[in-house]
Amino acid sequence: MRASSEASITLAGDLHARPAGSLAIAAAKFESSIELATAGRSADAKSVLSVMGIGATSGQVVTVRAIGPDAAQAVAAIAGILADATKVGS
């Protein structure tokens, strides 16, 4: 079954290199394809350079979309990392 799932997060801070790494490592654990999208750009969540390349900054809305058998779990995990990792001071 190809389930799809989606959630949007408003970033509390910029998406820096270290959280981009945590996000890519977490994304690799899921079978689903996972995309991050901002207003103008999108990234493959499993590619750290792609995640850094969207240059997501504080206040931007990032949409996490996953397609695959574990899409709902993938979106929950990645949205959680986005919310935690961009908290000011982290």
Binding site: A17, A20, G21, S22, A28, S47, V48, L49, M52, G53
Partner: protein, 134 residues
């Protein structure tokens, strides 16, 4: 994930500071899960490359799953090639990645952190060439 642990990364640069800084950055982005060893500069601390430093870094980076080497430019590549041609006492498997130094190091470290083998880690480094930063 193999029983032998994660693939290690060796960064060969003309500059000790460049190799060390890139190793620090890649290591932190990778969450400290992967051994990223710098091998920069000559034995007496000048700009250049050192077979002894590269050999030391290769041994330190190998935890049984093999090592991927990223050279920066020119004679780093030649020195790594000369070492490989010699062939003795090197980690197995060993791959040299034709990749941009910083982006390749970061991408390779993440690929190693998620349990990629030497081939997957070298490919991740080489694919970094296509990543856009703007």
């Amino acid at each position: 994930m193999s029983e032998a642990g994660r693939v290690g990364i060796v960064l060969v640069s003309h500059s000790a500071a460049l190799a060390a800084g890139t190793a620090e950055l890649a290591g932190q982005v990778g969450g400290g899960e992967v051994i990223v060893m710098p091998a920069g500069g000559t034995d007496d601390g000048r700009l250049g490359t050192s077979i002894a430093k590269i050999r030391h870094a290769l041994a330190a980076a190998d935890s049984g799953a093999g090592v991927v080497v990223l050279p920066d430019l020119g004679s780093s590549v030649l020195t790594v090639r000369a070492l490989l041609a010699d062939g003795e006492g090197l980690p197995e498997p060993l791959a040299v990645a034709d990749a941009p130094f910083v982006e390749g190091a970061v991408a390779a470290t993440i690929a190693a952190a998620v349990g990629g083998d030497v081939k997957a880690v070298a490919s991740a480094a080489e694919e970094a060439r296509r990543a856009r930063k703007l």
